[in-house]
Symmetry: D2
Subunit: 131 residues, 4 copies
C-alpha cells in the first residue's frame, strides 16, 4: 500500500461528488432537511391545530424559512459564488423561525431542524467570507 | 411604404421576443399575475382575517395555486416541451382555487386572477396537444 | 408484550410523520434526490464539459426536471389534493430526462435518480387516481 | 368635495393593495421582470448562441439571478420581515449579472432589467435598514 501524504488525505476527505467540500454537502443537506420539515409542519400540523399556530407572523416565518432554505440549497448545488451571502441571510431566518417555534411549543422537530440549519449556514457564510 | 403580405403580418403579430407566440406570452403573464395575487392575498389578507380564510384546505389551495403558476410560467419561459402538460394541471388547480375563493367571499381579485389563468392554461394545454 | 392485530401493524408500518403514508414519504425522497442530482450535475459537470452536454434540449430537460421534482415534492409535503396529477407529469419529465442522459453517456448518477423518481411518481399518480 | 390634508394624500399615494407601499410594489415588479428576462434569455438566446454565452460562470450567474429575484419577490409579497436582507443580496447578484451581460454583449434587455432591479433592491435594503 502506497503512502499518502497527510495533506492529500485531508483534501480527499474534505471533498466529495463533483469536487464539492464536505462542509458544503453537509450544509446542503441541512437546508433541504429544514425546508422539508418546515413546509410539512406548517401545511399539516400548524393548519390542523390552528390558534397560535396560524398567527400571521408564525405562519409567515415558517413559509419564509422553508423557501430561503430551498433557495440556499439551490445556490450551493449550482456552485454560485454568492452562496455564502445567501447562507448568511438563511442563518438569520432559521434562527428567528427556530426561536418562534420554541416559544410556541410542541414543535421540537422544527426547532431542531432550524437550529441545525442556522449553525451550518453561519459556518458556510463565515468561511466563505474569508476567501 | 412597402406592402407586407398577409401571411407575414400574421406571423409578426403572432410572435414576439425570442420568437415566442403571443398566446404563450399571454399565458406566462396570466400565470405570473395569478402567482402574485394568490401569494400576496394568502400571506396578508387571509392570515389577518383568520376564520374560514385559514382553514387547511383553503390555505393549501392558495399556496399550491401560487406555486404551480410559478412553475408553469418558468416552464414556458424556458421553452420546455412539457409546458402544455404542466399547464393542464395548472388549469385544474386554478379552477379549484378560484371556486374556493368565490364560495368564501371577499376575494374578488383572486377569483378573477384564477379564472383568467385557468382559461389561458387550458388553451395552452389544448393547443399544444394538437401539435 | 401485548399482541398487536395484523391490521393495526399494517397501518403503523404504512404511516409515518404527520400520518403520511410511507409510499408518499418515499416519493418525496425520490423527488428531492432527483432535484438535487440533476441541478448539481447540470450546473457543474455539464457546464464544465460543454459540447453535447450544453446542447439546448439537454440543458433544458435537466433544468425542467430539477424544477418539477422540487414542485412535486412541495405538493406532497403540503398534502395537496393535486399531488397525484403533478406526479403524473413529473414521471414523464423524469423519463425523458433519464433517457436523454443515458444516450449522452457519462451520466449514470442522473440516469439512476431520474428512473427511480419516474417509477415512484408513476405509482403515486396511479394509486391516487383510483381514490 | 371635502378637503383632504396633504399628509393624508401623501399616505394614500404611497400605499396600494393590502396597504403595501408603492416602493415595495415597484421593487416586486422589478424583481419579477428581472426573473422573467434572465430566465427567458438564458434558456433560449444563450443556449441557442453557445460560445461565451454558455460559459459556466455566465450561465450560473443568469440562473442564480433569476432564482434570487423570484425568491426576493416572494418575500416581499408575503410581507416577510427579512425582505430587506434578501433584497440586499439580490442587488449584489443583479449587479454582477448585469455587468457580466454587458461585457459579453448583445444582451441589452438583460443589462437593463438587472440594473433596474439592482437599484430598486438596493433602495429597499437601505430604507428597511433604517426602520
Amino acid at each position: 500500500m502506497t503512502h499518502i501524504p497527510q495533506s492529500e488525505q485531508s483534501m480527499r476527505s474534505e471533498q466529495s461528488m463533483h469536487g464539492m467540500h464536505h462542509s458544503m454537502q453537509s450544509c446542503i443537506q441541512a437546508c433541504m432537511e429544514c425546508h422539508q420539515v418546515c413546509l410539512q409542519t406548517v401545511m399539516n400540523l400548524c393548519l390542523e391545530m390552528g390558534g397560535k399556530h396560524v398567527e400571521p407572523e408564525h405562519l409567515r416565518l415558517m413559509m419564509n424559512c422553508a423557501e430561503i432554505c430551498q433557495t440556499s440549497a439551490n445556490f450551493m448545488l449550482s456552485s454560485s459564488t454568492f452562496h455564502n451571502r445567501l447562507c448568511g441571510v438563511c442563518a438569520e431566518v432559521c434562527d428567528a423561525c427556530g426561536q418562534d417555534c420554541k416559544s410556541i411549543g410542541d414543535m421540537d422537530e422544527c426547532v431542531e431542524a432550524c437550529m441545525n440549519c442556522a449553525e451550518s449556514c453561519r459556518q458556510m457564510a463565515g468561511s466563505s467570507m474569508q476567501h
